[in-house]
């Protein structure tokens, strides 16, 4: 009895220690994200000191400091161009990372990524149609994004309908449907490029396909922010326990009070919408959604309540740095960000998977 009471005072199951650890990581990553943002806004073809960046942002947001000690072009670069771009990078990175987490739990495969469901191929087809044939011209300056989003929506509907054709949506059916639709739409995009015969158009489609944050504007940012922060990150964190259970197996989920079919359906809606919005805003940026979930799990363990927020912060930081590299490596020319993330992500993934198997054996 005495030992039981004593144990009661201590940290049962080591949960409190784990929570403290996660809290520290979240704090450290949040600080890292803010610093990343300030440095990233300052870097580029025209360098601006971090302190100046901080002052310009402070001035714009809360009016402190009141008087300008910087030049107007500096303010324009920071506020009009680079800040929306860096913020979009953060949102895209965070969104892709948490969607990757959700999909890996959903199909129980550590190699799943947000593009598995063919959503990016749909968006690419839409974007190609807009760039090459002027589709979605009615949306004005948002023609490209709108057309890409419609393509993404169509693709995810198609995947969903195919996966459902057997009565219920299972993991394996979802995978197969995603791959099939992805290939078909990839072919469609290639055909559109081929049929247009416009070299310049093809080039801009290609650029878009490889991902770019160059389209970032303040008003479009709001939509992305609402979907990523309010939709994906919040929902997936709250649904953390259900993700844990679903990742173990359908049978286990059922017996622990989570209806696997219904939950998978909800996840599908959240992930499809988020990835659709992200791809239409920034093109398809590979590897972030695949690698970051592994990294997050290594840091805070497997429970999704911890993995989702940590993955969001990590994804945000990594994508912004990839964009900084994309802007300065061949400055003044800009490299598509997808090239950077894939080049950095691939070896990283190999290391992670090797470690995974070394410790898992």
């Amino acid at each position: 009895m005495a030992t039981a009471l004593l144990k009661g005072q201590q940290d049962l199951l080591g949960v409190a220690a784990q929570r403290r650890r996660t809290g520290l990581w979240l704090l450290a990553l949040t600080v890292g994200l803010v610093l990343t943002g300030v440095v990233a806004v300052g870097s580029g073809a025209i360098g601006i000191a971090p302190t100046t960046v901080a002052r310009i942002i402070g001035h714009q947001l809360v009016g402190v400091p009141g008087e300008a000690t910087w030049t107007l072009p500096q303010e324009a670069i920071v506020w009009q161009v680079r800040l929306p771009r860096v913020l979009l990078g953060m949102l895209v990175g965070a969104g892709l990372a948490v969607c990757g987490v959700a999909l890996q739990a959903m199909v129980r495969n550590v190699l799943a990524d947000p593009y598995l469901l063919g959503i990016n191929s749909g968006a690419s087809s839409g974007a190609a149609a807009a760039i090459l044939f002027g589709a979605g011209a009615g949306f004005g300056q948002y023609a490209l994004s709108a057309s890409a989003f419609l393509g993404a929506l169509a693709a995810s509907l198609l995947v969903f309908l195919i996966a459902r054709s057997g009565g219920r949506v299972t993991s394996i059916r979802l995978l197969l449907a995603g791959v099939a639709v992805g290939y078909a739409l990839y072919a469609t995009t290639s055909f559109l490029i081929f049929a247009s015969g416009s070299a310049e158009g093809s080039r801009s489609v290609m650029f878009w396909l490889l991902g770019s944050l160059g389209l970032a504007r303040w008003n479009a940012l709001l939509v992305v922010a609402a979907v990523v922060l309010g939709g994906a990150i919040l929902y997936l964190t709250v649904a953390g326990r259900r993700l844990d259970v679903l990742a173990i197996g359908d049978e286990t989920a059922q017996t622990l009070g989570v209806s696997p079919d219904r939950f998978r359906m909800r996840l599908l809606v959240v992930v499809s919408l988020s990835v659709g919005v992200l791809v239409s805003a920034a093109g398809s940026i590979g590897f972030v959604g695949l690698v970051v979930p592994h990294l997050a799990r290594r840091i805070v363990g497997a429970p999704h309540v911890r993995v989702v927020p940590v993955a969001a912060l990590l994804g945000a930081i990594l994508l912004v740095w990839a964009d900084v590299l994309a802007r300065i490596l061949l400055a003044p020319q800009e490299i598509p960000i997808g090239i950077i993330t894939s080049l950095l992500g691939a070896p990283f993934l190999v290391i992670l998977i090797r470690r995974l198997h070394a410790t898992g054996a």
Binding site: A239, R241, G301
Partner: protein
């Protein structure tokens, strides 16, 4: 109390369970026995609602199971399935805490009371020392005990176990089943080993091809004249010190040849 009436299940054209009635009474341990392919696991899955869309109905404490929301069902039925979840990267403690899920609201996280319950359940199955270990690193027997701890942590009014003694050495086979008996909750256990069934079950349901061959108190069902045609093996029964012991022996040549092949 779990009451199933006329439950039927087919895999394609193959009728596995044909109009079966089963009743599990409060405070008693019901054993499901029968040879391979007799549908023990299928019947159990029908009883906890993993298989839906068949005919017949399952009533748990007065409510039809198919009408209960998943969370409510999980507060009434705790299940230890054969799906091991060996791929998961969760630690043992985290896995057992998932058993508290059905008692927590969506926005609530596991609190001190839940941790205490989880720790107690781990202690009960002799796995308290495993708490911090990754579940995937455990041996088969340790995993089985942890999964049982998770089911206990669920604190449901019924406990359903699908061959819980798989992977366990002889000591833990007896300890786990004794534990189930001592809980005093209405339990249904799928068992291969007839001697374990004899010792730890109050009632038995013997399944043969598609249906119930015999059902009733353990002493009545474990009758060699009933068992022998179903299992196709010679059986002698010894009643020693009030306990039933079954001894097995191949009946004839054909059985020997089949085993040899």
């Amino acid at each position: 109390m779990i009451q199933a009436t006329g439950v039927t299940w087919r895999y394609g054209a193959n009728l596995v369970i044909d109009g079966v009635d089963v009743t599990a009474r409060p405070g008693r341990v019901l054993g499901l026995i029968g040879p391979n392919g007799s549908g023990k696991t299928t019947l159990l899955r029908l009883l906890y609602g993993a298989l839906r869309g068949g005919t017949g109905q399952v009533v748990v404490d007065g409510d039809e199971l198919s009408a209960l929301p998943a969370r409510d069902a999980a507060r009434r039925l705790a299940v230890v399935v054969q799906e091991s979840g060996g791929e998961t990267a969760l630690s043992v403690a985290e896995l057992v805490l998932l058993g508290r899920g059905p008692h927590l609201s969506t926005f609530q996280r596991a609190g001190r009371a839940d941790h205490e319950i989880a720790a107690r359940c781990l202690t009960r199955v002799g796995a308290a020392h495993l708490g911090a270990r990754p579940f995937a690193h455990l041996s088969g027997g340790e995993r089985q005990r942890v999964l049982i701890a998770r089911a206990l942590a669920q604190q449901a009014t019924h406990l359903l176990l699908d061959e819980p003694t798989n992977h366990l050495d002889i000591r833990y086979q007896h300890e786990i089943l004794q534990l189930v008996r001592d809980l005093g909750t209405c339990s249904i256990v799928v068992l291969h080993d007839l001697n374990l069934a004899a010792r730890y079950c109050d009632d038995l349901v013997l399944l043969g091809r598609g249906g119930v061959v015999a059902a009733g108190p353990t002493g009545e069902v474990l009758d060699p004249t009933v068992l022998m045609p179903v299992y196709g093996i010679g059986i002698r029964r010894l009643d020693l010190d009030g306990a039933i012991h079954l001894l097995f022996q191949p009946i004839d040549q054909t059985t020997d040849e089949r085993t040899a092949a």
